[in-house]
């Protein structure tokens, strides 16, 4: 069988959360609101350990939209980390972002689109990008790990220099299959 699956260098696979972290630091991100996701584990750990960053664990993802709006009212930048199922929780609260034209940077790890074991992740995966777009969010779907940092960097500029809401969707294929011990 012929396959076009790209061969990923182990270093690139391991380091993409570190690359995002560096981009966010360079982009003066001071707040990290998150609902945990396995795909975000390494990035969340780095954010939580960073004493210059306020890390906020949320009970539900839409809390982060309000939180980051408040931080922006005081002149500070933040990021919302979530998985695709959490996008569904955000829909009406995204009216805050569009009506007041707040900047918003979301980094979404996709579930339910590639080698998924949980059937309930699939419906929201199909609706993630479209529902964000319906609410006025600019979406960037990243398929290759080596592109992630560059897309997040562009997202930072887009959000905070152009007062846009931006969601970077990291594909499940790039993340790899879920390992139960991670």
């Amino acid at each position: 069988m012929v396959t076009d699956t790209p061969v990923k260098k182990p270093d690139a696979i391991a380091s993409w959360p570190d690359d995002i972290y560096k981009v966010l630091k360079d982009g003066e991100i001071r707040h990290c609101a998150y609902v945990p996701d396995a795909g975000h584990t390494r990035l969340i750990n780095k954010m939580v350990e960073d004493t210059e960053i306020q890390s906020i664990v949320l009970t539900t993802e839409e809390e982060g939209i309000g939180y980051l709006a408040g931080a922006w009212l005081a002149g500070e930048r933040g990021v919302l980390l979530l998985q695709s199922s959490g996008v569904g929780n955000c829909i009406n609260t995204l009216s805050l972002t569009s009506s007041y034209r707040f900047p918003l940077l979301m980094i979404v790890t996709m579930r339910g689109e590639w080698a998924e074991f949980n059937p309930m992740q699939v419906p929201m995966a199909k609706a993630t990008a479209k529902s964000l777009q319906l609410m006025g969010v600019n979406t960037y779907h990243v398929e290759a790990v080596e592109d992630i940092a560059e897309v997040v960097e562009a997202g930072v500029d887009m959000a905070f220099n152009s007062d846009q809401s931006v969601a970077v969707l990291i594909s499940q294929r790039a993340l790899g299959r879920k390992k139960w011990n991670s």
């Binding site: 707040h31 009970t59 408040g70 922006w72 009212l73 005081a74 500070e76 009406n92």
Partner: protein, 202 residues
């Protein structure tokens, strides 16, 4: 299972605009976030100011906006003024605030036990669910029910103390609708005015 009985006694509550006037008396650098609906109209009527962030929607978000503002402005007081229905929709935010323990965040819930904007349907508050008890369980430094105007004045002192941690007052008000005094509907202007008042680029 039987539903909790209606235990509301809202006919004897405080007048909402007197409460808001007491909360905002002698304000200086106070930043205020208002929950959509009557809380927004009350604050507009009583104490319009560029450092008021008025919500027209995003129900359930007022306390979280207050948290972001408080964490990013650690030396300045932040007061969220909202209704019981709005805070009930953001119940989880009380837990999130309890984790962060900001000293400079106060929440005043104007509790009439009803959804006044939509036809006065009873809220959970009318059935004995106590937002002050939820806040206490979420490790707020102070959380209690207020039924007297003198206690509102005491709560105002707590807003400016900024020493112990987040505080929440469930203030029992009359279930009445006041004249609507509306802020601008241009939400971008509300945001830009606020940021300009903070000395930020808009």
């Amino acid at each position: 299972m039987e539903q909790l009985k209606d235990c509301s006694n809202h006919l004897s509550g405080l007048a909402r605009r007197e409460v808001v006037a007491e909360l905002l008396k002698d304000r200086t650098d106070l930043m205020v976030v208002t929950g959509l609906g009557a809380a927004t109209y009350d604050v507009t009527a009583v104490s319009h100011c560029d450092l008021n962030f008025y919500l027209w929607g995003a129900m359930g978000s007022a306390a979280m906006i207050g948290l972001g503002l408080a964490i990013a402005s650690p030396d300045k007081p932040v007061l969220v003024i909202t209704g019981d229905g709005e805070q009930l929709m953001g119940l989880g935010s009380l837990a999130t605030i309890g984790v962060k323990q900001p000293n400079n965040l106060a929440i005043a819930v104007l509790d009439n036990g009803h959804y006044g904007e939509t036809g006065m349907q009873k809220s959970h508050s009318s059935f004995g669910i106590g937002l002050h008890k939820v806040a206490a369980a979420c490790n707020f430094a102070w959380a209690d029910e207020i039924t007297e105007l003198s206690a509102v004045a005491d709560f105002r002192q707590r807003v400016y103390e900024m020493e112990s941690g987040p505080v929440l007052a469930r203030i029992r008000i009359e279930a009445t609708n006041e004249e609507r005094v509306l802020p601008t509907r241009d939400c971008v202007e509300i945001k830009n005015r606020f940021r300009a008042a903070r000395g930020l680029a808009v």
